[in-house]
Symmetry: C2
Subunit: 303 residues, 2 copies
Amino acid sequence: MALDVVSQPDALAAALAETARLVEAQLEALLPVPEGAEAKLVEAMRYAVLNGGKRMRAFLVIEVAKLFAVNRTCAARVAASVEMLHAYSLVHDDLPAMDDDDLRRGQPSCHKKFDEATAILAGDALQTRAFEVLAEEDTHADPEARVELVLALAGASGMRGMVGGQMIDMESEGKDLTGPEITRLQALKTGRLIQYAAEAGGILGRAPAPQRQAIMAYGRDLGAAFQIYDDVLDETASAEEMGKTAGKDAAAGKATMVRILGLARARAQAEMLAEQAAGHLDVFGERAALLQALAQFTVSRRS
Amino acid sequence: MALDVVSQPDALAAALAETARLVEAQLEALLPVPEGAEAKLVEAMRYAVLNGGKRMRAFLVIEVAKLFAVNRTCAARVAASVEMLHAYSLVHDDLPAMDDDDLRRGQPSCHKKFDEATAILAGDALQTRAFEVLAEEDTHADPEARVELVLALAGASGMRGMVGGQMIDMESEGKDLTGPEITRLQALKTGRLIQYAAEAGGILGRAPAPQRQAIMAYGRDLGAAFQIYDDVLDETASAEEMGKTAGKDAAAGKATMVRILGLARARAQAEMLAEQAAGHLDVFGERAALLQALAQFTVSRRS
């Protein structure tokens, strides 16, 4: 049954909730608590990755994989893997030496719930487990596909991706960055992992090159829209809605597109990018309706 | 030319030095410093991994790979990868929230040379790069071999390996562990990565199962010998020789085999394990002489 335009927000909400259930069940299965003193480590890993969240990255993996009729469990495993990678980055980001955030989604951040040493180790082991899950045979019958997933995740999350972006972000505090510099920073820090999540669905589906390119372009523009709109929310939303300290980036003198463009033009830019993202998926017809609705949702959410 | 027994220590020293040159050239090539503010991240990664060290793990990869006539560059890449993984664990271990060590091999530890946030990120990105290098096509023509390397490294270094062992170690401070508990702790914390290094050479060489098992047994006993002898050194060596604060484990009330067995019996236990390790390689004849010499060296080194 094709989705009509009016029902899309409801359909998206239902699909996001379904994804959250699926990926959380998978995370539970992939992170069993062992006997012995190392139990605390796995409890901290589970606390960090099973604390709610929209599961947007998981949703991207699963919905793109559906375009290519990928086995549901395989997609859920890759979705769980990217949520682990994302959770590790948040745990380390929140540490006192980094952003020093006591709250994450309205709950104590990992180092407040446990302690700093445990949070460092939990982040480390979440990263390891993310790569391990991708390499396991249950993720895809073809080892070539598994290796491609590992390579794509490493490229998106390492020194040329997310962590590189975090370094630039830290080095840029108090500096006046240009628009293109902010765009590059955000592409590395947030955009590439979002793009990877979409790409991963295409890798699982052994998508042919033109379709892979359309998905990559969607992921790129969606990621850019997401980050600009995050800056908008940081200026406008209340701490309660964000589940973290609002207005913090501006207070820290962090470079944001809102600072460069102003609130209204930044919002318009995010909306334009979201529309552009959705457009890349027109080649898939109605089957991409939920992914297109996600782009729309990305620039209209309240947290 | 077969090595005679008398010349082995010299041959080992020469081979270790040659391995260090080879792996350090590979590390330089695998960690090029980029333009832009993320340069600092890669400089910290290079600082952490190019600071000397015996390169024992690299040596294990390369020497075992030689048993199976593996291409030298492929082996050097995997050797560089395990050194990156090892360096990441040291950078995070030295952080104030963990062991709080200002010195590493006689030099300022990464967070002293740079800052804590940079050290956290450098460790994170070293881990990512370690997995990325294994998955890259240049590491092995067969994707199955690359996936096996990723799986083996993740198993050895994550929640069921090194990081799990670090958690047990932290949770055990001030507690009286039994001998078997200490053995398990050390196997996870240090042993499994050493064992992985040997195993990786066998994976690269597509070694048949019986030879793989001999190599795994060698790696297991070598790792155990190494850690017990490390405890011996921690009690006996000076800070200058160790390049780090000596006697620190004992002062922190950490469980060590020296505490359980006493110095002489701990030393004897390490020597027994080293001999046992060497014995597993008898099936390879003279070709394993350097690996057997390494086992001997492991329990006679002064730092």
